[in-house]
Amino acid sequence: MRAPGTVAAGETLLAVENVSLRFGGVKAITDVSFDIRKGEIRAIIGPNGAGKTSMLNCINGFYYPQEGRITFKGETRRRMRPYVAASQGIARTFQNVALFKGMSTLDNIMAGRTLKMNRGFFWQLLRYGPAMAEEIEHRKVVEEIIDFLQIEHIRKVPVGKLPYGLQKRVELARALAMEPELLLLDEPMAGMNLEEKEDMCRFILDVNQQYGTTIALIEHDMGVVMDLSDRVVVLEYGRKIADGTPEAVKRDQRVIDAYLGVAH
């Protein structure tokens, strides 16, 4: 389904080196380095306000870090427009669902295909011939994703009317429609009940295994993080305090202090 990437499985897909981000005097991220390997599920955890979402924002070009370098597929950059990140194969979902509320599920996911569609304005005017063929071709891909995430029944429903759990799923579908190499998930299970969480976990694992998509995820549910992820990076107050396998991180004294507090 997907063209082979230039990075082989197990090698570094994305490297973050010494990244710092400030808003005026507020330091959101200070000198953070880590890497994401092709094909793995990488969790980013940390207490509230640790700079996790800001980190994702840096990775896909929404914020510009003042210092440091980000290397994706061997290309290093400091500043990048979000659409360049998107066209290089970085997709994401958002902490607070950021769907296109006025559009149907189908249109939302189809919008995820925008980058792959290139029929020009005049064919679009006619909506005939090549433009129609292109629509149908992409519709087929989208239907596969809909099928995969089991959201057939809400295909034509405006997403603003959907319950929260389904909205999160549609958002995942939209990100998948971009056929990303790197998928950033910002708290994909926030506010879900146990059953919905289990579903979502299964989808994430399936995406990782079936499509071979590399996934970076922010999550607060430690059980989920420990089960899903191959490696975990822990942030606190914008600094990296631990990095390694879930088991190693779980035993790290600084992580325990950050989550449980330090006895004084």
Partner: protein, 318 residues
Amino acid sequence: MDTLYAVFIDPFMQMGSAPDLLVQTLWEGLVAGVLYALIALGFVLIFKASGVFNFAQGIMVVFAALTLVGLYEKGVPAWIAVFLTLGVMFLLAVTIERVVLRPLVNQPDIILFMATFGITYFLIGFGESLFGGNPKQMIAGELGLPRGAVEMKMLGGFVSFQKIDIAAAIIASAMIAGLAVFFQYTRIGRALRAVADSHKAALSVGISLNQIWVIVWFAAGIVALVTGIMWGARSDVSFALEIVALKALPVLILGGFTSVPGAIVGGLLIGVGEKLGEFYWGPLIGGGIESWLAYFIALAFLLFRPQGLFGDKIIERI
């Protein structure tokens, strides 16, 4: 070369050679600016407290002035007419809160903005059917406002100041000071600032949103009446003011939507900039540039500082 000279050098030579004219133009600009600032102030009051971008503020000015003059023409003594008009503005605030704002709570800003278009059109129609569409004379004399002009000899010429303009500046300053004190130091003022920050949070600590809305819309109504009197005393009271009132928008952009000092500084800047532009640069391209200059000043400004003069830098979050 000639064009460059005409645009970049000649106007300043003119300013230098006739400083009295420059002062006169600046004064005219400041006076226009005070009125823009007053209209903008009405906008800011409402925007701060309810997040509604009140497009109808300009028409509220006309409506207040028309009501005042209309009542006077019906034989009501001038000062009683003022109080009756205040009453009308209060009724208007209550009605708007009941009929427009309350059913639209929690709607997107843009919907509320459009609703104020509806208020604008309704008030135009309502005002015209009550008072007719003809321009009216403001009852400035009856209200004890001064007439005539003060001529001052300065800078080798004469500069004339209309007394009414001086009065307008003083009254406007007093009113702004009063409002500032009211909002900073009273209980209602504090509640109002709370509402401005977050409707839901304010509701949850027991602040009555409806009451606050009535109060700010009434306050904006008072500002509108004062503006209307000042404006009417300079020219006629008519719906032509509707177009002029739109000038408050560039003022707001300069000053920021939530800043009272911003509205004042912005108003003065726009007023002065507009008059200087018209007087010194207007003739170069045929005059009448007052109609759009303010918008271009605001636009140019926006491109460099999208958050306004006094606004904080906006950090987008997701």
